[in-house]
Symmetry: C2
Subunit: 520 residues, 2 copies
Amino acid sequence: YGETADADGQASFKALVGKKFEELAQQSPEGWAGQEESPYLQDALKIAYPTFSTSTLIDRANQAFHQWRKVDAAERAGILVESLERIKFRFFEIAYATMHTTGQGYMMAFQASGPHAADRALEAIAAGHEELQRFPAKALWDKPMGKYNLQINKEWRAVPKGISLVIGCSTFPTWNSVTGIYGSLVTGNSVIVKPHPGAILPIAIFVAEIQKVLVENNLDPNICQLAVDTFDKMITKELAEHKEVKLIDYTGNSAFGNYLEGLQGKTVFTEKTGVNSVILDSAEDIDKAVANLTFSVNLYSGQMCTAPQNFYVPKDGIKTPNGVVSFDEFAQKFVDSVNGLVDNPKAGPFVLGAVQNKKTLDRVADAENLPGKVWLKSRTFENPMFKKARIATPVVVEIDASKEDVFSKELFGPIALLIKTKDTDESIALAQKMAMAHGAISCAAYTTDANVREKIADEMSLAATPVSFNLTGGIYMNQNAAFSDFHVTGGNPSGNASFTNPEYVTKRFTWVGHREPVKA
Amino acid sequence: YGETADADGQASFKALVGKKFEELAQQSPEGWAGQEESPYLQDALKIAYPTFSTSTLIDRANQAFHQWRKVDAAERAGILVESLERIKFRFFEIAYATMHTTGQGYMMAFQASGPHAADRALEAIAAGHEELQRFPAKALWDKPMGKYNLQINKEWRAVPKGISLVIGCSTFPTWNSVTGIYGSLVTGNSVIVKPHPGAILPIAIFVAEIQKVLVENNLDPNICQLAVDTFDKMITKELAEHKEVKLIDYTGNSAFGNYLEGLQGKTVFTEKTGVNSVILDSAEDIDKAVANLTFSVNLYSGQMCTAPQNFYVPKDGIKTPNGVVSFDEFAQKFVDSVNGLVDNPKAGPFVLGAVQNKKTLDRVADAENLPGKVWLKSRTFENPMFKKARIATPVVVEIDASKEDVFSKELFGPIALLIKTKDTDESIALAQKMAMAHGAISCAAYTTDANVREKIADEMSLAATPVSFNLTGGIYMNQNAAFSDFHVTGGNPSGNASFTNPEYVTKRFTWVGHREPVKA
């Protein structure tokens, strides 16, 4: 990226703060608004974005749709790839924008919002382009009928659905939104991007770059519009319920996701919440396992959809080559490990980042009142670079397996529950049940027994939950590699927003075949 | 098929009538029932099928599922192809079974229920097998991390959804059901086939043959169960609402289809009703066009989901090389042509077949009371082979384009509405509107103008309706070729049961990926 890329990106970000965001090509704003706040500074960013009424957004999207759908599929893909080339030069700026809206640490903000998001966008373009080529544009159908041949010219068109609405979330404003945006655009739909009012800037930069490339190609920039709203006047429902909106992509809480899925006549992709499990049966090196899980719990203060929450530990402990580690020994090792990471000034502030939403602090505080032994209370510490940062370290609580109501819901944030089970079979059964009933996006398991491993792999497969086995060292259960880690593939209530699945793009258009006899 | 195949098939069919159907391998029937009636004889077939309670069906399907899902995908496909090989020897028997349950003519009954249904089943097997191979079973992920390489073994499993329910219809008991049955089976689901109580035998023969091949392979025959019910005690809702049923395939009326689509937590494929249009703008040879449309209206007495209903004719007539054919001239040509076909003893009885449901006769009678000129009344005639056959010839009524409420619903049966429009633009707009609002499965258009042709192709594409242009001679708008005519691809309210679309099989299973670091 060049030696000065980081400093330049930071400077560019700072230059945007406190001003109108004037990069969009959407004409005649009907207002200006913006309520973003930095979790690191606990202060408003004071960036104002152009705002538009729902009817203006829909009218423009409709008009742009009929232009865009007629652009050749390969040309559409080319334009979208070009936008990613441009966005590459703004990765650092996007990283700072992400830090100061989501609270992510610098490394994660750079990776997730920049190159990883662009990877996912590129894969959506590729998947869409591939599916658009699945059937030939035309063919001659020639059927011998005895005395003559029946000859029919057949043609097949990939017809986009119409207007696509992409609803962003507050924690991963680009990573979770770009697949829907690029997936809908490459298949010929026009897109309205409705970011979370708390995390607009990162995706606004993406949309601005897309619009610039559209304009350069003499196309209507409203093919991809940004639709900003404010906490006090959200326009999401108005947009989602509009009859012209045919496609909806959403990341966020399950209640709103379920409402969207219930709307008639829409194709809806969701990534909702889940209850992620860790199954501890046996381990080659329990300390390395604990260290790995510690990182996963602390990473971005547990605000990832893939963060672990329920740790199932048998009451008789975890088998290791050096003997059984009892439940209490494991709990103590985990507490010590969390404290070690949090108190390491070279790690803690960067791994935990900041807490995006004030409500998460309340949830963490409430966790101390759960019915079980509190092994570790949440606390705060001073981030040397951002003294006002909103910080909460993990709370660790022991819960008996019989108290299912306590752990059968997502407790978003740095909250770890150590659930004491009868044995590993009960651990597996509970993890599967949680995933089937409440969704799950990730799962970790530690076992040195091949039969137990296969049982976990099989039972969690039935709950459509990917399992990371025996992770130690530099890879964590909450990390997803683009292209090869299949994320939210649709088999449990957490949603169906897997861009690795062909359905994710094929549902954005319809095949229609026409036919006509060959003229004699 | 051999010289005696037809006679043998007819004899086999006759041997089944009036008896218990004992070919199924489903053990310990809880009862015997069957209320099929031949529309040709207007008499009960008196075939009794084993019946089972919903809980028995579900328990057996659940148990069979866990056996079937572990059978290798290629072996599953092999078993299913083998079942089609066996069914081939019963095509004539199935043809007679289809005639005497649906009322189809002999030719259609043979083609649609036998070879065409088997074609579709084969394509479902092929599509499923292909999609199951889309991702590799395993891969080594090797990421350079600077000083070392991060190496992860990744594996991907195609996990079937569980129990699949396939709900049959009374008019095409195999053609419409086999894609769901074979699509679900090849992807590893267990299937419960719930036929329409009026049309069981054709699909019962399919299920029996599948069960025989399963048993020969030492597999549980309950992998594919037949679930027979009676008109007075239908079990469809009980099955559909059961929490263990994850997949539903349905063909039939829109009200029940919409109810099924509204069930939470199910993947539902439907083929519902539609309002099919014919747009008449201009024609090279109007008489050939009329002859072609006449056949389409009469074929199986308009009881195909692809039959035309709304004929949009401009008030100023249809342009031809020999001058304009006025609205009234067209209407008269159409009436004469229908009479010609119906009164031709070598054509009428075979093309029209018989009427499956008594209610269709009422609907045809009511059509004479629609607000417009009745150009042709429905009547009956004697089928020389089946003197008691239930027969109704087409009714033709002129309706003004302003009376949208009259023609904006499906009038199932031999009912043709000649709708007088301002011009072709209004015809196109109405055809598109009907398809978007009420669904459409087919459309025909006659035009010699390339611009009008493209406008129709484009506007009807947006309503996801395939258009047959300028058909004359031996191909008709209501016929669908397997493999190349895309049927109900999901873009309008008629449903989404297109087995030509990869989604039709990919939604029957979920991809799940597990991973584990390579041991050092």
